[in-house]
C-alpha cells in the first residue's frame, strides 16, 4: 500500500512538467493550428539559459525562471512573425516541414555553440527532500509540479477572464469564428505562439535542475507532448492536464511493478496512447 501510494506520488509529480510542456504545444496547435516540431527547442533554450546564468554568473535557476519565460516568449514571437505567419495559409504538411527544419537548425546551432556535452547546474536545494511519514517528495520535483500547476491556473484565468484570452479560446474552438467576430486573429496567434514557447522555456529551466541541459534535451519532451496532446484531443486545452496525469501514472506504475519495468517505460507510455487513440476512434460513431 505504501509502495502504491509512493508510486502514485511519483507519477503525480512528473505529470506537472509534462502538462506544462504539452499545454504549450496544445496552444500552438489548437489556437495557431501549427504542428510545432520545434517546441522542444524552446525548452532546450530555457535549459541552456539556466545553465549559462548559473555557470557564468552563479545565478540561481529560480531567477532564470522569469528570464526564460520572457526570452522564450520573445523568441517565440519572432519565430511566429518571421516564419510561421508566412506559412499559415500553406498546407499542414508544409508547416510541419518548416517547424522540423527549424528544430534541426536550432538543435545544431546549440551543438555548434555549446557542444553535445551534458551540462548540469548545482543549486543547494537540488536533492532536498520532504518526508511525510513513510513518504518522500523531492523538493525540486514538488516545486516544479506546483509551479506548473500555478502557471496553468494563471493561463486558465487569462483564457476565461481577459478579452484576449477569450478570443484565444474562441479561435481554439472554432477557427472561423474570430474573423466573424472581428477579433484580431493575428494578434491572438502571436500571443498564443509566444506563450506556448514561454511555457516550454520555463519547463526547460526546471528540467535543467531535475535533469540536465544539452542540445537534445527537448526531443523526448516534444515526443511525449505530442502523445499527451493527442490523448487529450487536438485543441482541447483542458484535457491536457488529465492526459498528462494518465500517462505519467502509467509510467510510474510500470517502472515500479513490472519486472525490468525501467526499460519498458516509454513503450508502455506509447502503448497506452495507442490503445487510447484507437479505442476512442472505434467507440465514437
Amino acid at each position: 500500500m505504501e509502495l502504491l501510494l509512493q508510486t502514485l506520488l511519483n507519477g503525480l509529480l512528473m505529470s506537472g512538467v509534462y502538462a506544462l510542456v504539452a499545454t504549450g504545444l496544445a496552444l500552438s496547435l489548437g489556437v495557431v493550428g501549427i504542428v510545432n516540431f520545434a517546441h522542444g527547442e524552446f525548452l532546450m533554450m530555457g535549459a541552456f539559459l539556466s545553465y549559462l546564468f548559473f555557470a557564468l554568473q552563479g545565478l540561481d535557476p529560480l531567477f532564470s525562471l522569469g528570464l526564460a519565460f520572457l526570452a522564450a516568449f520573445l523568441v517565440g514571437g519572432l519565430v511566429y512573425q518571421g516564419l510561421i505567419r508566412p506559412v499559415l495559409p500553406a498546407p499542414e504538411l508544409n508547416q510541419m516541414l518548416l517547424t522540423f527544419g527549424l528544430s534541426i537548425l536550432l538543435q545544431n546551432l546549440a551543438l555548434l555553440l555549446f557542444g553535445a556535452d551534458t551540462r548540469v547546474v548545482a543549486p543547494s536545494y537540488q536533492a532536498a527532500t520532504l518526508t511525510l511519514g513513510p513518504f518522500f517528495l523531492g523538493a525540486v520535483p514538488l516545486g516544479a509540479f506546483m509551479l506548473s500547476l500555478g502557471l496553468l491556473f494563471l493561463l486558465q484565468v487569462f483564457l476565461t477572464r481577459s478579452r484576449l484570452g477569450l478570443a484565444m479560446r474562441a479561435v481554439a474552438q472554432n477557427r472561423l469564428a474570430p474573423g466573424l467576430l472581428g477579433i484580431e486573429a493575428d494578434q491572438v496567434y502571436l500571443l498564443a505562439f509566444g506563450l506556448a514557447a514561454a511555457l516550454a522555456g520555463v519547463a526547460g529551466v526546471m528540467l535543467s535542475v531535475i535533469l540536465y541541459a544539452s542540445p537534445t534535451v527537448g526531443f523526448i519532451f516534444t515526443l511525449k507532448s505530442f502523445a499527451i496532446v493527442a490523448l487529450a484531443g487536438l485543441g482541447n486545452l483542458k484535457g491536457v492536464v488529465p492526459a498528462a496525469l494518465v500517462l505519467a501514472l502509467a509510467e510510474a506504475l510500470v517502472s515500479t511493478y513490472l519486472p525490468g519495468g525501467g526499460g519498458l517505460v516509454e513503450a508502455v507510455f506509447f502503448l497506452v496512447l495507442f490503445l487510447a487513440l484507437v479505442g476512442r476512434a472505434w467507440r465514437s460513431p
Binding site: L3, T118, G138, S255, G262
Partner: protein, 391 residues
C-alpha cells in the same frame, strides 16, 4: 664507400620524410557520439601538429564526419579511399558504425587504426583482417577491470550486495549477463534493473532497491543519468556505501556539484594523472586549445597519431604494410601507460593495443576526479563509505 652509402640512406630518408603521408580520419563529429568524436579529433590534430613540427615525418590529415550513422559513414569512408586515396585510416569510434565499415575496409584494404569500437561483435567482423590495429580495450577488458575493483571492495571493505542500474541500449545491456554471473561468482548478491537513458526517472527503481539495501549502487549508462541518479538516490532514502558508474563521459559541471562528492567511476585517463606522457599531453593540449580536456578519447587520438609517426619513422617508408610491420613491434609510452600490440584474448584479431590494465577507478573528491584504485595509480585512498551513506 660506407660513407657514401650512409649518405644515400640519409638522402632517401629525407626524401620520404618530405613527401607527406596522407592519413584519413573518420570520426563522429555529429550525431550521438559527437562529444567523444570531437575530443578524439582534437587529440589527433594536436599530435599531427607536433609530429610535423619535428620534421621526422610529415602527416596530412583528411578528416570526414561519420555522423554516428552507417548511411553516412560508408560513403564518407569510400571517399577517403577513392578520392583522397589514403592508405591509412584512423577512426571507428562507435561500434555499430565500425561494424558497417567492415565491408568497405575489407574491400579497399587500408591500414585501419581503431580508436574505439569496444563491442566484441566488431572483433568478429574484422576477424582475419590483417591490417586491423585496435587501440581501445575490448568490452571484456572493461568488465575485467570493473570486476577487479569489485573483488577489492568485497575483500577489503566487506561489500556484499550490488544493485545494478543498466541502460537498455547496447552500451548498458551488452555485458549485463556476464557481469551478473561474475559478480555472483565473487560472492555478491546482485539485483539488476534496466532503465531508459535520459529519462531521469529512477525513483521507482531506487525505491525498490531500498528493500535490498545494497552496499554498492552501480550504474552502466550515460552522462545524462549521472545527476538524476545521485539526486534521486538521496531523495528516496537509498543509502549505498558507494555510488559507482561507468559512462563514456561525465557531465560538464558535475564536479562542482556537491552531489557528485564521493561518486566513483571508471576511466582510462584523467588530466591529473602523474605519468610524464600524460603531463606533457595536458600541457600541449592547453597550449593549443586554451583548456584542459576531461575526455579520454583526446589522449587516445593523440596516442594513435604518435604511434603512427613512430612507426613511419621506424619503417622508413610511407607504405602501409611496412608501417604495419613497424607498428606491430612498436613499444612506446603513452598518457595511458606503455603501449605494445599483441593478439587479442580471443585470438580473433592480431593487433590489440591496450588491455584491462589501462582502466582505473576514480572518485569525485572535493570537486575533482582523483584516481583511487588500483594502488599503483591511486593518488588518494578510496572514501568508503561515501558521504551519501553517512548522511
Amino acid at each position: 664507400m660506407r660513407k657514401a652509402l650512409g649518405f644515400l640512406v640519409l638522402l632517401a630518408g629525407l626524401a620520404w620524410a618530405q613527401t607527406a603521408l596522407k592519413v584519413g580520419v573518420i570520426l563522429p563529429l555529429s550525431g550521438a557520439s559527437a562529444v567523444s568524436g570531437k575530443a578524439a579529433l582534437n587529440g589527433i590534430q594536436l599530435a599531427a601538429d607536433e609530429v610535423n613540427a619535428t620534421g621526422k615525418a610529415k602527416l596530412e590529415l583528411v578528416v570526414v564526419d561519420d555522423g554516428t550513422d552507417a548511411a553516412k559513414a560508408v560513403p564518407a569512408f569510400t571517399k577517403l579511399m577513392t578520392v583522397d586515396k589514403v592508405d591509412i585510416v584512423i577512426g571507428g569510434l562507435a561500434s555499430g558504425v565500425t561494424f558497417a565499415l567492415s565491408g568497405p575496409v575489407k574491400q579497399y584494404g587500408p591500414l585501419f587504426l581503431v580508436i574505439g569500437a569496444a563491442s566484441s561483435v566488431v572483433e568478429q567482423a574484422f576477424e582475419g583482417y590483417p591490417l586491423f590495429f585496435h587501440y581501445h580495450p575490448w568490452d571484456y577488458h572493461n568488465v575485467a577491470a570493473a570486476l577487479q575493483f569489485f573483488q577489492y571492495l568485497n575483500r577489503e571493505h566487506g561489500a556484499k550486495k550490488v544493485a545494478i542500474l543498466y541502460e537498455d541500449g547496447p552500451f548498458g545491456s551488452a555485458g549485463i549477463g556476464v557481469y551478473k554471473q561474475q559478480l555472483e561468482k565473487l560472492g555478491y548478491q546482485v539485483q539488476a534493473e534496466p532503465y531508459k537513458t535520459g529519462s531521469g526517472q529512477f525513483t521507482a527503481i531506487l525505491t525498490r532497491f531500498r528493500a535490498f539495501a545494497p552496499d554498492i549502487l552501480y550504474w552502466i549508462g550515460y552522462d545524462v543519468d549521472a545527476l538524476p541518479i545521485a539526486t534521486q538516490a538521496r531523495q528516496v532514502g537509498l543509502r549505498p556505501k558507494l555510488i559507482y558508474g561507468a559512462p563514456p563521459s561525465w557531465p560538464i559541471g558535475f564536479e562542482r556539484n556537491p552531489l557528485s562528492n564521493d561518486v566513483a567511476g571508471m576511466t582510462a585517463w584523467l588530466p591529473t594523472l602523474s605519468n610524464a606522457e600524460s603531463r606533457r599531453f595536458v600541457e600541449a593540449y592547453r597550449k593549443k586549445y586554451g583548456e584542459v580536456t576531461e575526455e579520454y578519447m583526446a589522449p587516445m587520438g593523440y596516442t594513435i597519431v604518435k604511434s603512427l609517426a613512430l612507426a613511419v619513422e621506424k619503417a622508413g617508408s610511407n607504405e602501409k604494410n611496412r608501417i604495419a610491420e613497424a607498428l606491430a613491434t612498436l613499444r612506446m609510452n603513452t598518457p595511458f601507460g606503455p603501449l605494445a600490440f599483441k593478439p587479442s584474448d580471443t585470438g580473433k584479431t592480431r593487433y590489440q593495443g591496450f588491455g584491462a590494465d589501462i582502466w582505473f577507478q576514480f572518485q569525485y573528491l572535493e570537486g575533482s576526479r582523483r584516481p583511487v584504485f588500483p594502488k599503483d595509480k591511486a593518488s588518494r585512498p578510496l572514501r568508503y563509505p561515501g558521504e551519501y551513506y553517512l548522511r
